[in-house]
Symmetry: C2
Subunit: 282 residues, 2 copies
Amino acid sequence: MAIILDGKKLADKLTAELKTAVSTLEKKPKLAVIIANDNPASQIYVKNKKKKAEEIGFESVVIPLKSDVTEEMILEHIYILNEDKDINAILVQLPLPEGLNKKRIIEAIDPIKDVDGFTSYNFGRLALGYNPYAYPCTPKGIIRLLNEYNINIEGKNALVIGRSNIVGKPVALMLQQKNATVTMANSYTKNLKELAINADIIISAMGKPNFIDSSYVKDGAVIVDVGINRINDKITGDVLFEEVKNKASFITPVPKGIGPMTIAMLMQNTYELYKIQENFIL
Amino acid sequence: MAIILDGKKLADKLTAELKTAVSTLEKKPKLAVIIANDNPASQIYVKNKKKKAEEIGFESVVIPLKSDVTEEMILEHIYILNEDKDINAILVQLPLPEGLNKKRIIEAIDPIKDVDGFTSYNFGRLALGYNPYAYPCTPKGIIRLLNEYNINIEGKNALVIGRSNIVGKPVALMLQQKNATVTMANSYTKNLKELAINADIIISAMGKPNFIDSSYVKDGAVIVDVGINRINDKITGDVLFEEVKNKASFITPVPKGIGPMTIAMLMQNTYELYKIQENFIL
């Protein structure tokens, strides 16, 4: 029976620590969130981020834009936030409305305020094995959660399923940086089951509900489920938890696994960017 | 018996094409090379790059610095080259003398003149799957050579041995971008032979002479040897060519494989940066 990697519990602990750290600060870290879509899920994400920021004692501002906003208008908002000395962290909630150039919009964020670590500069630093100003929140949360349970990464065979710029690609690079042998699988992969059954660590971010059953899992493997799939208003992961938990050594639940860790890392990144910027000013 | 992936032949073809293209230009592309070490191998590399540039009709300048040069002095040279409208491409020959901050020096290169694609910005673009101004020369040469022989990458299992920022990491990201399932092995990998024997494509950049013998190779695999190992003044690759060529479907020789492709791609990058910069000016 696997040990549950309790992301909720660790996220709560980290949030409490941040709250204590922030309580001693005169000037508070401030997070700005731009949202330009009326996707209900995005609206909830942004609301939760703002709520968490306020719980910790951060200041925050949400800039809601109509979904017919122009690219130039979003860029204008970003330029203003870049220049605003009170803003430490800028997040553009994805997805953006269709027709807008996402790359150009993300790239406009000053890397020192790029709280998601999605700009080319920060992503390049991550890929090169240097410290970016901020690591992307979900991969950072995954590594932090594995560390909390003293799970050894070095020399392990890790399989990353999914290659998004938000999760799969950066977590593969970060695991490799920690001396894992990493395989990056994608929708063209022909022998997924064979790769999975040989993996010591599986990170699944493919978005297929309950796809990874116990036939994909080696005895004692570590299973990290990043899937967030909605089925009839219920959220389920990529992993058939009830079955796989009997074979794995460690497993994340969905919900209360990587989800809360992602928000906790967003908060930590906000705080870290604040500290970098304050040091620059001193 | 494998087909030889003739990097020398393709490099010569591409060089000839570039020469024709450049002959029609009034203003010629110009490459600047900074070299700050007296390592004989580096001196030869730089000489060969300059020779190739001149053969094509580029202008070039080599800036030789003493190995006791300060970081600030190298940075000063880079700033001047960044501003110089006649310079299209800047290359800092590695390795740099010990004690100098390589990251800071490379990072000082304007990404639009970063002919090796080593700056965080360009490397981040590559990792994110966007077009950088320039792709690193060796990985670009590998992909170009595979393309020349119509070798299919999509859906294939590729094993990349070695994870340098110059070869292993970028070629893994580029193969993945082309829909391969990529495994990145390193010195901590425990089951290298098992991974190798299951791979459709092996890119070896580990620097161990003749290490990959036929016991590492699946029948019909594609073998790319990036090793440049000097033994008694003779250059040998990572792959035991005479043995492996009987098992592989395609194989690169050493020398005359990836080596000439790397220089050819450096020349192509110089030309491409020139074109980007000329278009900006127009």
